[in-house]
Symmetry: C2
Subunit: 541 residues, 2 copies
């Protein structure tokens, strides 16, 4: 395994950090598109389980956010000085106060390479008390702060816009407890989702959420952004499964609502102020979460279909025929799948169809599940709704099929710049935007316009690639897609959040009364506005 | 059916209101213990589906809250005057502004007949705009307000403490929409839970919550108190299933976050300010809720066991063997069951055992479910963990078995006064309080001390009956049970809420930092404190 590490470094000539001992090679920090490709080979060979994102990038060619969005003005915050750095060194050991430009660079750029800040410092606390001391000082000194988890967000929420002090939760990665009777897990915010999943699966449990970025994203970031993912249809949202949170307010006060109880109706449910507020009301430091038991049997079907109407028919049938064992219901169009098969050389397991579905079942009895799935598929194939399909129950084949879906975003980034949109829409109009936008983009620099959906949640991911950032393409897409979504009473951000990039579009999905209340809550909890400024709340840029 | 109505009126000599046309006799307002007994007969004969609570009681013998809790001082609110009443009559038609003492009386008393206010007015809006106009006026005039749904709460949260203006949501009972593809229901706050269930079941869906008070409780009250109930183990909490809320703030501003989308990450999740805040931050006027499809097969097993250890073994086995089809896992001790069988003359379907369990499965394939249940029961009976049991799959038998569990609280009220406690505790200590408190009560006026649990949620309902209110018994129970719960890091209110009766005990389950934040949010959203005063927030009495 060690040789593989060396191979990448030698071949690509870029820094490659291995987070785990080399004999557990699973997480590789990918720093250039070239090295990303090498990692994809590793994935195809089954040697690496997930794709990671760019950190400490050596080629900061991304345009500065302040240049790309000239309308955004830096807030009236203090500038970082030597005195500040000295104070941070009194709170944290020297090696956890990062100030070398080269080392800080990766933390300034988002995964999509769309936005870039100019922070000069990254702080890496290990415990809540350190986060508290840092924030208390920043608040007193009027220093703006950008909390950062795995930095896998797609809306520019996890990197600084200007020179905010970056507080990385990466080293807050301890598991506090697991109650093996109730399945309630308590852990620090910096635990990587996939590591938690591994820990739990050895003990008969699973995380209630799963998403493509699992190899890098952190549970604190998942909670702060109310991450959705591929199993929401079965295990519900984090608003239901997160039982408690410990968070630090802007002034350093620790809000301890880390209840690890399934029911607790003692006063306001404060944890929800931190779920999905993207680090603007506090920094989540610990999480308590209800984990379901691992399923005893898992099956995955990969199906080819002719039309979106057939997709809807299959979804309705799946909900009825597979019922309680349905754990995922995904759909992708041919161009989405092609981004994974052509750009990443993954193999398409069935022929070419306009649409594909990935249906997963998880249950407590393999025989029963297989019977349900067989009956469901036989019916749909007999009446011609499903044209072709393949079923997998063996873990490595299940993984291969899931990669076809999960690596689409990575495949898309190989084409240059990825413009990623994320709407909730009424089911029958869920796919309409893809042909509509495609048509509008004819004759532009756009390479590909495609869509894939979390069907059970009415959630479309619309994706457009361009060779490089193209403001003309952007003008064709925005605000058109937001206005269209708003007309159908959809959400302009189903799961990615508002972050930095969507603050001017939030009013398409939020009433003015709600926005006013949001602003007032922000003022109450962070009067100086030091926490993740320029994010979430309505703004002009 | 009409004759039955007359029969009650003639036999019991008390007012009896039938909410539905007589040929759909299902909801009867029960006004005295005597008429309650008559209604139980109707239930046993299958003529009435649910027990309702006391409204417009003609015998207001309950001690005034201001007398029973002399430490509580009336806030500095205005007194209701003729001018105020005249203004309310300009907002609502005359028949929806209730001021006759006799008509208002029932709204002043809670279901447990533990607390009684002296409000002189009940307002019955039908639409959000009316609620808004009422609150805007009350806020301007500094009139305190008590929102009231079905008035089935057990902590004195839904009745006035002094002379608060009562706003009843009973007439806000319209269903706005049901999306039959997604199962998303939008309705007004005053819809009765059981009516929603009936409406949905005719369309292939079900409510994600169910509780004993379903025949009277309203969805707005369920949401405002974050009601749990008997199926949380399968369908999760309201925090997960409520998708959107429309609520009116103290100043009359309508907060429209009535998203009917499964995913919507556009800013702060404001709906959670209203879920479980018991009407102290706003009055919920509309709710959007995700409803699961109706199961195709339901089975119920009623089991007898020797010890609480055997209960825990059976629970663990049920979670593993029944897995995704487990929809309820309840436990009751012999004395709890006896309150239903002896006091209400319900029939016990199996012999006498120290403990009983009620396990429900709901699934999409009857044959599979039966196989799983049979295997589960055979294993547990073979190794002697379950001593005896009966299984029902026929709806009327399922209903009879559920009544044994759901009517326990009604059975308990027949003994006089019911002191009801509601804790979340670690599973292995879930039942400990029952023998502990029983022992402490020897030699007092206590009639019965018993416990039943929502096992899957670690939620104990501890119940103590006395012939009448007895402060000496109360002193033995409180704060002992709260201190004991706090030591085990449990919750002093799993699902009933804080209401009026538990405000002095909230600190046993909430950190000071959380309490401070609660107080600040209350000040932000209701600066004059007119909304449901003396409730939820920490107080001395």
């Amino acid at each position: 395994m060690i040789s593989l590490r060396v191979a990448i470094i030698q071949t690509e000539g870029c820094h490659c950090e291995i987070r785990k001992p080399a004999n557990m090679l699973r997480h590789i920090q990918i720093h250039t598109i070239a090295s990303r490709k090498a990692a994809v080979d590793l994935i195809q060979n089954g040697l690496v389980r997930g794709i990671s994102q760019s950190l400490q990038c050596r080629r900061p060619e991304v345009e500065l956010t302040s240049v790309r969005y000239p309308g955004v003005r830096r807030g009236n915050y203090a500038q970082l000085s030597d005195r500040h750095v000295q104070h941070f060194r009194s709170i944290l050991p020297k090696e956890r106060v990062i100030t070398e430009t080269e080392d800080v660079a990766g933390y300034n750029v988002d995964w999509l390479r769309m936005v870039r800040g100019v922070s000069q410092i990254v702080l890496k606390p290990k415990i809540t008390e350190e986060v508290s001391a840092i924030l208390e000082y920043c608040n007193a000194e009027n220093l703006a702060v950008c909390p950062q988890g795995g930095n896998t967000g797609l809306v520019g929420g996890s990197v600084p816009v200007f020179d905010e002090v970056i507080i990385s939760t990466s080293l807050m990665n301890s598991i506090v407890s697991l109650d093996e009777l109730s399945g309630i897990l308590v852990c620090q915010a910096g635990c990587i989702l996939e590591n938690l999943e591994s820990y739990l699966s050895e003990r008969g449990f699973m995380m209630p959420l799963d998403l493509g970025a699992k190899g890098t994203c952190q549970i604190g970031g998942n909670v702060s952004t109310n991450a959705g993912g591929i199993r929401l249809i079965r295990y519900g949202s984090l608003q239901g499964s997160v039982l408690g949170i410990e968070a630090v307010k802007a002034d350093g006060e620790v809000i301890d609502c880390l209840s690890s109880l399934k029911k607790d109706n003692t006063g306001y449910h404060l944890k929800h102020l931190f779920i999905g507020s993207e680090g603007t009301l506090g920094i989540v430091t610990k999480v308590s979460i209800q984990c379901p038991p691992s399923p005893k049997a898992v099956n995955v079907a990969f199906l080819g279909l002719d039309s979106f109407d057939d997709i809807l028919r299959t979804f309705t049938e799946a909900r009825s025929g597979l019922g309680e064992i349905l754990s995922s219901c995904e759909m992708m169009d041919l161009l989405s799948l092609d981004a994974a098969t052509s750009n990443l050389k993954l193999q398409r397991p069935i022929g070419e169809f306009p649409f594909y579905m990935l249906i997963e079942t998880s249950g407590s009895n393999g025989t029963h599940d297989e019977e349900k799935l067989t009956k469901f598929l036989e019916t749909l194939m007999a009446n011609g709704v499903v044209r072709d399909g393949t079923v997998a129950s063996e873990p490595s084949r299940i993984k291969s099929i899931w990669q076809l879906r999960e690596l689409i975003p990575v495949g898309l980034t190989h084409e240059g710049l990825l413009n990623s949109y994320d709407m909730t829409l009424p089911m029958k109009h869920l796919y309409d935007l893809v042909p509509l936008v495609s048509e509008r983009l004819v004759g532009t620099s756009a390479i590909r316009c495609c869509g894939f959906c979390h069907l059970g949640d009415g959630n479309l991911h619309l994706n457009i690639t361009t060779p490089k950032f193209d403001p003309d393409v952007l003008k064709i897409i925005e605000p058109f897609v937001f206005e269209w979504t708003s007309k159908l009473k959809g959400s302009v951000s189903a799961e990615h959040g508002i972050g930095f990039k969507k603050t001017q579009y939030i009013h398409f999905s939020k009433s003015q009364s709600s926005l006013n209340l949001m602003v007032n809550i922000k003022k109450l909890m962070d009067p100086k506005g030091i926490l993740n400024p320029y994010k979430v709340l309505p703004a002009q840029h």
